[in-house]
């Protein structure tokens, strides 16, 4: 497997930075309260798997991904013939783009309930009168949010990919009029990897946004409603912004990678991508912006949670 593209690209820096941060945080958590945090994570797991929300959200997510990948080529007037099947990269981009967008809302709802739900039910006092610190509990909840976001992302990618390869071909992109190759298979594969790599951090960001809102109130219903409305509003408004301004908002990056892949699978996009890539890519904005938002959301949420008097 040729990893040259990987070594040369900013994705390497992105992944190493994130991995480094995760490792440092994990190491710090392990030193400070590792076993306690892990036990709390296990407890959160019990709650998560016992809730219908998990299964309903997976079901909706899968349905959304499949529907989007199936319907969008039809809506754009594309047809399969005996000689040409759909391009798998295009189908993948359709499914993953919509799936990631849906997953971000699922995560906002889930994270919105994470803390506020404990206050709502009063179970926060049960947890905080055990031999655990508030930092342990906060870390455990964040870890659960990360694990859940990762799981949903894997579901989205897995379902989109398998549908795409079952319906289409993972080959080059052809110009059907002039019978020339517009994008090679290697170029497309590389673009798909980029898209997958850059779309995860914004998803985590959406989850941490939910965590922040969850700490602002002690009612889970209010927290979820506020988080979803605020997120939807942000989603809507950034859509009207100038492309350069839009790049300052983390939610733009949720679907941008898959959008680039789609354009390339249709022969569009920045010429020579990669190695000449979109500005947001070359400047590592896809990494910097979500990381900036993530740290802002989490540090604020942590500060609020630490200072709170538990009256539940």
């Amino acid at each position: 497997m040729n990893l040259g593209w990987f070594r040369e690209s900013p994705v390497l820096h992105a992944l190493t930075t994130v991995a480094g941060a995760v490792l440092v945080a994990g190491a710090a958590a392990t030193v400070l309260g590792g076993p306690r945090v892990l036990r709390l994570v296990a407890g959160e797991g019990i709650k998560l798997v016992s809730q219908r929300f998990l299964y309903v959200s997976i079901l909706f997510l899968c349905a959304g991904v499949l529907l989007s990948a199936w319907l969008q080529p039809l809506l754009t007037g594309q047809k399969e013939t005996e000689w040409s099947r759909f391009n798998s990269y295009q189908l993948f981009a359709y499914g993953a783009k919509f799936g990631n967008w849906m997953a971000s809302y699922v995560l906002v709802v889930f994270s919105g309930m994470l803390f506020a739900g404990e206050f709502d039910r009063g179970t926060i006092k049960n947890l905080l009168t055990r031999p655990v610190t508030r930092t342990d509990l906060f870390l455990a909840k964040v870890l659960v949010a990360i694990l859940f976001a990762s799981f949903l992302y894997v579901v989205v990618i897995y379902v989109s990919y398998h549908y795409a390869v079952s319906r289409g071909d993972l080959g080059p992109v052809w110009d059907t009029q002039q019978y020339e190759m517009k994008r090679t298979a290697a170029e497309m594969e590389s673009a798909m990897r980029y898209a997958i790599a850059v779309s995860f951090l914004p998803l985590l960001c959406a989850s941490f946004f939910g965590i922040l809102v969850s700490n602002l109130t002690e009612s889970s219903g209010y927290a979820v409603a506020t988080a979803v409305i605020a997120f939807f509003f942000a989603d809507l408004t950034t859509g009207f912004l100038h492309p350069d301004t839009r790049l300052k908002f983390f939610n733009s990056y949720l679907t941008e990678g898959f959008e680039v892949l789609r354009r390339r699978s249709e022969g569009e996009g920045w010429p020579g991508f990669p190695p000449r890539v979109a500005p947001w890519f070359s400047e590592s904005l896809y990494l910097k912006i979500p990381l900036l938002y993530m740290s802002a959301f989490l540090s604020t949420a942590y500060g609020i949670f630490r200072a709170k008097n538990i009256q539940a």
């Binding site: 076993p35 306690r36 036990r39 709390l40 296990a42 407890g43 019990i46 709650k47 016992s50 809730q51 039910r121 009063g122 179970t123 926060i124 006092k125 049960n126 947890l127 905080l128 009168t129 055990r130 031999p131 655990v132 610190t133 008097n309 538990i310 009256q311 539940a312």
Partner: protein
């Protein structure tokens, strides 16, 4: 020996309301300590501060001889608590609810879950969703949660809320057994004064945020109630005599007369009644109960 739980100058203000002021609790190992007070007197706020759920404005809390703030983890391994209303995950069974807390506590064997559920009488319903439980069953579950980690000190805020008389009796006996046989120390806030009287060996009474009394139940009950119950005929003449002696008398619902008088004056009063030809069936100082004491000092 250092108290198992001690607060020094504990104070907390919420806006303009001084919820707790300069509270100095002292609970010795093996105590069954009753924490009494009217609604809003500051009991729950004090308990929340002890458990670090609310930060005090000033004062120090020590448990097992250590500062709670500095040694929270170490101390909380030996403490179990139920604060105000029972809290649970309604979509989970009792076992699952306890499993989450078992994991959070660390070092508690899984078999302890069944032990606790048996102790509170919930074993037959352990796999049912807690959302389907009655209020009394939820209260029992909350007590099981507090006892899960075999704590040396148990803090229970209104533990018998929502329990029927049978349930109260069951829980009381279970807690007393733990106190007697395993030496578990209890701090129990309650409105059921009779329960406190028969269960606790020491009480603290809080009023408008201040601890007004802290003593053994025995000492409190040995104090005179300052009242005498008199059964006599004719009552009207007796009341006139009492008024003539400058005493306050009121007719009780059972037909007897309640007389407010100092113990030293009782022979004189009795002699006056006999001299006036009033037939006296009964002339007895009222026994001091915690309820009498609470009503006279707590309100």
């Amino acid at each position: 020996m250092a108290p198992i739980l001690e607060t020094r100058g504990l104070s907390r203000r919420f806006g303009r309301i001084q919820a707790v002021q300069d509270v100095n609790l002292e609970i010795q190992e093996g105590d069954f300590y009753g924490f009494l007070g009217l609604n809003g007197a500051g009991k729950t706020t004090t308990i929340r501060m002890i458990l670090q759920l609310i930060r005090p404005d000033s004062g120090e809390i020590r448990m097992f001889g250590q500062n709670v703030r500095k040694h929270f983890i170490e101390i909380m391994r030996k403490v179990g608590a139920l604060v105000e209303l029972p809290a649970y995950y309604p979509y989970l069974s009792a076992v699952r609810n306890l499993e989450i807390l078992r994991l959070a506590s660390g070092g508690v064997p899984r078999s302890r879950i069944d032990e606790c559920l048996e102790l509170v009488g919930l074993l037959p319903r352990k796999h049912d969703r807690v959302g389907t439980y009655s209020q009394g069953m939820r209260q029992r579950l909350a007590i099981a949660m507090a006892l899960l980690s075999r704590p040396k000190l148990v803090i229970l805020d209104e533990p018998t809320n929502g329990l029927d008389p049978h349930g109260i009796n069951h829980i009381r006996e279970a807690l007393q057994r733990l106190n007697r046989e395993e030496g578990v120390t209890f701090l129990v806030s309650s409105h059921l004064l009779h329960e406190v009287e028969i269960t606790c060996n020491r009480v603290g009474m809080i009023r408008e945020g201040r601890l007004v009394v802290q003593d053994t139940v025995q000492n409190l009950l040995s104090r005179s109630s300052g009242q005498v119950r008199v059964e006599c005929e004719p009552k009207a003449s007796a009341v006139k005599i009492f008024q003539g002696l400058g005493l306050e008398a009121s007719e009780s619902t059972d037909g007897s007369i309640l007389l407010a008088a100092e113990r030293s004056r009782l022979p004189e009063i009795h002699a006056e009644l006999v001299r006036a030809g009033i037939r006296v069936w009964s002339f007895a100082p009222e026994r001091m109960t915690l309820e009498n004491f609470f009503l006279s000092r707590g309100s």
